[in-house]
């Protein structure tokens, strides 16, 4: 309209965009800053960068941009362009994000200025801020992070620009208004702390992080004779752990269970080593998954990575003990002889502690066999001496001619029968000796196997205790702390 055109020409006259808009050049210009958070876009743990979509809100007063609305058709406000290539520019503060990591250091979009008739100028530049955030991954994935945005004027010190929070009513989470009262320090009156500094009326909930609080701090710092004003906006966030419960916690608990169950597998199945090495591969795989999300720094190790590292060591130790168990299991009396000390420890003492049944208990019928085999040897030594004198005595005093004809044949046949029976007896005796020897070897071999079983059971109890301790010590307390 004609009135707006006339007003614009009136305001443009004698205006220079380089001029700091104060009437008295020795007085500072009050610049109020409000921060509105729209969205937490990304928290890059590996590169320690946080990305947010936020709106800045600058307020200052320009003494040259004042007019009487009655003289210009009642127009109360006008909007000037903020483009870099605009034909007419306004002065604006060079407030920057000090800890920015954007490619273009200033990542705000220069939006338009709203100028009121009393000279109040307001600009709401939106921007996608990417800034440094010190990530502590110790309690990943049950961690909380604190990031801050440090804003300040790049060239103007406190003598020229009085940078401060806009401490009007701030909208908190869920649209609740918050009255902000500064807590000033006793030594430096200009510096103060506020419990909430970011307006959240346009905030959209992030799926991965919960926003817990946004305190702020104003710092007036002296360098020589000049003092500089800095504004700190803190963002407290906590990671939401449901996704990690599905993707990381459940598999890690299953892996822990696999480690323990390897000791319940009998060595005859020939799969103990394969099971342990595959579990080892699974643990290495998950350790790689955890390390791919955490930054490669040595300041702090994630608890989950520590958990998987402990699992890695446990599985490696279980591989060693499995090899030992298999070595004990496959020992034979031909190659190894169990010493009395080892027999006392592994056959008597260790099973007693582990409440295991001794192998002698189900083998009570065996001593009877040995008892039977001893008695025939005793009888054999006495009978041949008695037989021979009887045969010689009974044949001669008896009948004359008839007996004389039959006696050699009978004696000859009987002697032959006795000789053959003696051979049979000796052969059967050898067979029994062989059986006795085999039984002894089986007993010794069973003792080796029983020793292996005892070691296996001991490892089962010890590793179960270790896994339980690690799980309770590393995972469970932080789960309970976050509920």
């Amino acid at each position: 309209s004609v009135d707006e055109y006339r007003l614009l020409q009136y305001l443009k006259e004698n205006y220079d965009s380089f001029e700091r808009p104060v009437e008295n050049s020795s007085a500072p210009l009050d610049v109020k800053v409000r921060f509105l958070l729209n969205q937490i876009m990304d928290v890059d743990e590996k590169n320690q960068v946080m990305s947010i979509l936020a709106y800045m809100d600058y307020h200052w007063n320009d003494y040259k941009l004042t007019w009487d609305p009655k003289l210009f058709g009642g127009i109360r406000d006008v909007r000037f362009s903020g483009d870099d290539d605009a034909s007419f520019k306004l002065w604006r503060p060079d407030v920057l994000l000090f800890n920015s990591v954007s490619e273009s250091f200033d990542s705000t979009y220069s939006s338009r200025f709203i100028v009121s008739s009393n000279g109040d100028v307001q600009q709401n530049p939106p921007g996608i801020f990417r800034f440094v955030c010190q990530i502590d991954v110790t309690y990943y994935p049950f961690d909380k992070q604190t990031c801050f945005l440090k804003l300040g004027s790049w060239t103007y010190n406190g003598q020229y620009i009085n940078l401060d929070f806009l401490l009007t009513q701030i909208i908190g989470l869920h649209g609740i208004p918050i009255v902000v009262e500064p807590e000033r320090s006793s030594t430096n009156y200009a510096s103060y702390f506020v419990n909430e500094s970011i307006d959240l009326q346009v905030y959209l909930q992030n799926g991965e992080w919960d926003l817990e609080g946004t305190p702020g701090k104003r710092v007036v710092q002296k360098f020589g004779t000049d003092e500089y004003h800095e504004l700190y906006f803190y963002i407290h966030i906590r990671r939401r752990t449901l996704a990690y419960g599905i993707n990381l916690i459940i598999p890690s608990l299953v892996i822990s269970m696999m480690t323990i169950l390897g000791f319940t597998l009998p060595p005859d199945a020939c799969e103990k080593i394969t099971l342990e090495t595959t579990v080892l591969l699974s643990v290495i795989f998950f350790l790689q998954m955890v390390s791919s999300t955490s930054p490669p720094q040595s300041q702090s190790v994630p608890i989950l990575a520590a958990f998987f590292s402990c699992c890695l060591m446990l599985v490696a130790c279980s591989c060693v003990f499995t090899v030992l168990t298999l070595s004990l299991h496959h020992r034979k009396p031909e190659t190894h002889e169990m010493s009395p000390t080892m027999r006392k420890i592994f056959i008597d003492w260790l099973p007693y502690i582990l409440c295991m049944c001794k192998p002698d208990h189900p083998k009570t019928p065996k001593p009877k066999v040995l008892g039977k085999s001893i008695a025939p040897i005793h009888r054999l030594s006495t009978i041949p001496m008695l037989n021979l004198p009887r045969v010689s005595q009974t044949t001669f005093p008896d009948k004359n001619v008839f007996v004389y004809h039959e006696v050699p044949a009978v004696i000859k046949n009987t002697s032959r029968i006795c000789a053959e029976l003696l051979i049979i007896e000796r052969d059967i005796e050898k067979m029994l000796d062989k059986i006795e020897e085999d039984t002894k070897e089986d007993m010794l071999r069973s003792e080796w196997r029983f020793a292996a079983m005892a070691v296996d059971r001991l490892c089962l109890y010890v590793f179960s205790a270790f896994i339980t301790m690690i799980t309770c010590g590393l995972i469970v307390p932080h789960i309970l702390a976050n509920i």
Partner: protein
């Protein structure tokens, strides 16, 4: 030409690019916005960002840019460079672009009746809350939120949807279909909100996307189902081959790799867990349980009577009742008749004993009294010794036979539990798979959602 120069000079006089182009400053500027969608470049599920190639076409009327074509050599349109005219400060509110405004500044086309056409192209990245619950059978609804950044009621923003088909408020005549998503509908809505004590008008252009599932079906679903079936086959392997646990632990590792693949694609958000990640996690739990069952089976298979003794209750349940229930058969053994077999064994044992005694009594009688007595006196001690030895030998063989039978009983018990686990885990895997895929609402429906508020 002289006419265009004169026209430009006349239009520039009295014009200010800051001035809002209305004759009465109390009236709003009517701006129409038309989105011309070129291409859906990328859907980044992890960072929840969608990238489009889109042309924002703005049209408004400027009362100071009017002329009569007859006075200026019949010139009806002009191309004015960007920055010299007033333009609306309409922005994409949920932009995820590095420079926030992704449009490229182009010339404006001015008509003689004052209509201004401004159509800057741009590669737009915007944030979208992607729900990955039903991934990869998911549909997504995203919106582009446009509005004036500083003008409130002084700029009347409207949707330009003339000559567009039903269900679409974006111009799709130049649209190139995306290989991963089908664009089902593009409804748009106009909404007024209050912000900083000023009424603002916002346009919401929604995009209803449906994921094409052939890629994920072939590369993720089919292999995982085959892994589950391979795990079931593990229960048909005898423990003697030494690879029963190896097969199942390798399947366990394979499902973990698939879980890692889902973790790389899906965003680490706790609002919605992808159903396929829950499927893989459940598969890991089932595989863990099946490994436990296999460990129990192998442990029972290699038991020995020297170290373990089977109780009566265990013998009845696992050697009689469960085989009958699972329709199993064992050579030379029929279930449901345990009593008769025991009676037969007793009769046979008794019969053998009596025959031996009778034979011994009859043999010495046919011989002559004197000679037989002599022979008996000489040979009986030897025979007694031999009989004693043979009794010991028979006892040894009986013990070995009994031990062998107990070993076979343990093996049969392992086989019974193996069969039971086969049926149990088959039902568990098929039930779990059917349950999860039955909950996918978008699996069989293909209708677009038009009514979105």
């Amino acid at each position: 030409s002289d006419e265009e120069y004169r026209l430009l000079k006349d239009l520039r006089e009295g014009y200010d690019p800051v001035e809002r182009p209305v004759a009465d400053h109390r009236k709003p500027v009517n701006v129409k916005l038309r989105l011309i969608l070129q291409q859906l470049v990328d859907v980044d599920e992890r960072n929840q960002v969608i990238t489009l190639v889109v042309w924002n076409q703005y049209t408004w009327n400027d009362y100071k840019l009017r002329w009569s074509p007859e006075e200026y050599g019949n010139i009806t349109t002009l191309q004015i460079p960007h920055g010299t005219l007033w333009k609306p400060d309409i922005l994409l509110f949920n932009s995820a672009n590095e420079h926030f405004d992704a449009s490229f500044p182009v010339h404006m086309v001015v008509s003689s009746n004052g209509d201004v056409l401004f159509a800057p192209p741009g590669i737009v990245s915007f944030s979208c809350s992607l729900s990955m619950t039903w991934f990869p059978y998911d549909q997504q609804v995203c919106y582009l939120k446009f509005g004036s950044w500083t003008y409130g009621k002084k700029l009347d923003l409207q949707i330009d949807d003339s000559d567009l088909p039903d269900g679409h408020k974006m111009d799709l005549q130049y649209y190139i279909p995306n290989g991963e998503f089908d664009l089902l509908a593009t409804p748009a809505f106009r909404k007024s909100t209050t912000f900083l004590d000023e009424t603002y008008v916002e346009l919401y252009f929604h995009m209803h996307l449906k994921r094409r599932t052939m890629y994920y079906g072939l590369n993720w679903i089919v292999p995982s189902i085959l892994i589950s079936l391979s795990n079931i086959l593990g229960f048909t392997m005898p423990p003697e081959c030494g690879e029963k646990i190896t097969l199942q632990i390798t399947n366990f590792l394979s499902v973990m790799v698939f879980l890692a693949m889902v973790s790389e694609v899906a965003p680490p958000t706790s609002e919605s867990i992808p159903i396929i990640a829950a499927f893989f996690s459940l598969s890991i739990v089932i595989l863990g349980l099946s490994i436990c069952a296999s460990l129990i089976i192998v442990n029972i298979f290699f038991r020995h009577p020297k170290t373990h003794r089977m109780g009566d209750w265990t013998r009845y349940v696992f050697l009689e009742w469960l085989p009958w229930f699972l329709l199993m058969s064992r050579p030379e053994h029929t279930f449901c008749r345990p009593r008769r077999e025991e009676e037969k064994n007793d009769e046979e044992a008794g019969g053998d004993g009596t025959k031996l005694l009778e034979n011994q009594q009859h043999q010495p009688r046919p011989r002559l009294l004197v000679n037989s007595q002599l022979v008996m006196d000489s040979t009986v001690p030897y025979l007694e010794e031999i009989i004693g030895y043979l009794k010991v030998f028979k006892a040894k063989l009986d013990d070995d036979e009994e031990e062998e039978e107990e070993i076979l009983n343990w093996r049969f018990m392992a086989m019974v539990i193996d069969r039971l686990s086969l049926f149990l885990f088959t039902g568990l895997i098929f039930g779990t798979t059917a349950l999860i895929f039955a909950f996918c609402p978008n699996l069989f429906t293909d209708s677009p959602i038009v009514d979105i508020e």
